[in-house]
């Protein structure tokens, strides 16, 4: 057994498949530099320990496991309102969208947004039918500074593959045929 394996067991207990984020992270923490007698068998450096000077230099104290922060100090967002938007129409310098309340059951509304509200990527993704998320709330910096923000995050979907498009066309042809609408 090497020190990495020893630490895996110390940190997370016997291996057990789990979708718990922290159980996964626990097994990923870098192994300690402390060496066990077992790992000298397969290490390329054990002969150094035979020299009395080298032995003094090698770490002998047991590993110290520092408590891990479960959340790094990063920007935190306190959401006041969150809506999913669907772009309906694009005009000169602005666009119209239907907004669906994600957090509550408020009725759907239509709103107009300026292009200036969009990031460069948002402008590239803007087209009728595009989906975005509109967040209103407080952005809290790691130092605790709050600023009120409203921003738009557009939904990204993977590029369609030729085979997927061909399969969708075949399926559409089948449906047309079943409905008796095929040319």
């Amino acid at each position: 057994m090497n020190t990495a394996n020893a630490y895996e067991l110390d940190a997370a207990g016997p291996f057990q498949e789990s979708t718990n984020t922290q159980a996964a992270e626990g097994r990923l923490v870098a192994p300690s530099i402390a060496r066990t007698s077992d790992d000298q068998e397969d290490s390329s450096l054990p002969h150094l320990a035979e020299s009395s000077t080298a032995r003094k230099l090698l770490p002998t104290a047991p590993p110290v496991f520092l408590p891990r922060r479960s959340v790094e100090p990063r920007t935190h967002f306190i959401v006041l309102e969150k809506r999913e938007g669907i772009v309906l129409e694009i005009g000169e310098g602005e666009f119209e969208a239907r907004l669906i309340d994600i957090l509550a059951d408020e009725p759907e509304v239509t709103a107009t947004f300026s292009f200036q509200d969009l990031s460069e990527d948002g402008r590239r993704l803007l087209k009728p039918g595009a989906v975005f998320y509109w967040n209103v709330g407080y952005s809290v910096s790691p130092s605790g500074q709050r600023s009120r923000v409203a921003d738009l995050v557009f939904r990204r979907l993977p590029s369609r593959r030729v085979a997927d498009v061909a399969a969708a066309r075949r399926r559409a042809d089948e449906v047309l045929h079943e409905l008796g609408l095929a040319p």
């Binding site: 789990s18 984020t21 479960s70 920007t75 959401v79 939904r155 993977p158």
Partner: protein, 207 residues
């Protein structure tokens, strides 16, 4: 008024058999799952045949041979994180995948140290421990809700630091068909309701 978390962490974990080396920021850009700006600003931690680990656009992605983990601590980007997970799994649709975890963590600063102790006493009464402990204190408590047959919800609660309560919820799903496309469908079907329910549970526990 509902308690407001002082920090939140949302994550998706998929257990399977992956090839970490192919998933890089450039690959995400090529597949239109990330913008050029996000890729230019991404932070690489490790790209290796066994681990791909980087941050991109307020999202952290870690892919090991046995699991994909996506996290964000900025809830503006939780939908973007879900879309990224769904997009990656859609591209790797025939990759073996067996489990999905939709996870949520929240920290609540309670009004006082006394109310923080009271919460500990309420969740973990000390009477059963009185005969053999001198000063018992709750470190962590996990309750499993076995409501579903294809998974469960583990709710873990405990102190994070003086006056701060930590709630972590692992909403775990076992997949019927062991394929990434099934994991993709599971996330698309359950993610929104799962996060909403986890937020509700965390708020109730902090109340």
């Amino acid at each position: 008024m509902d308690p407001t978390p002082s920090a939140e962490l949302v994550s998706i974990v998929v257990v399977g058999q992956f090839n970490p080396a192919i998933v890089t920021p450039l690959w995400l850009e090529r597949e239109q799952l990330a913008s050029p700006e996000e890729v230019a600003a991404s932070t690489l931690k490790l790209i290796h045949p066994d681990v791909s680990d980087f941050s991109i656009g307020e999202k952290n992605l870690q892919l090991r041979r046995d699991r994909l983990t996506l996290t964000t601590s900025d809830t503006r980007f939780e939908e973007a994180m879900r879309d990224l997970a769904v997009g990656i799994l859609g591209l790797l649709r025939h990759t073996p995948a067996t489990m999905v975890g939709l996870n949520y963590e929240a920290h609540f600063k309670l009004p006082s140290v006394d109310s923080w102790h009271d919460k500990g006493h309420q969740l973990g009464p000390k009477e059963p421990w009185a005969g053999f402990t001198n000063k018992p204190g709750l470190v962590s408590l996990t309750m499993r809700d076995n409501e579903r047959k294809e998974g469960y919800r583990n709710i873990t609660v405990g102190p994070l630091s003086p006056q701060v309560l930590r709630v972590f919820i692992n909403d775990h799903y076992e997949l019927g068909q062991p394929e990434a496309s099934e994991a993709q469908a599971c996330i698309e079907k359950n993610w929104r309701s799962s996060i909403a329910e986890s937020r509700r549970i965390a708020t109730e526990l902090a109340r």
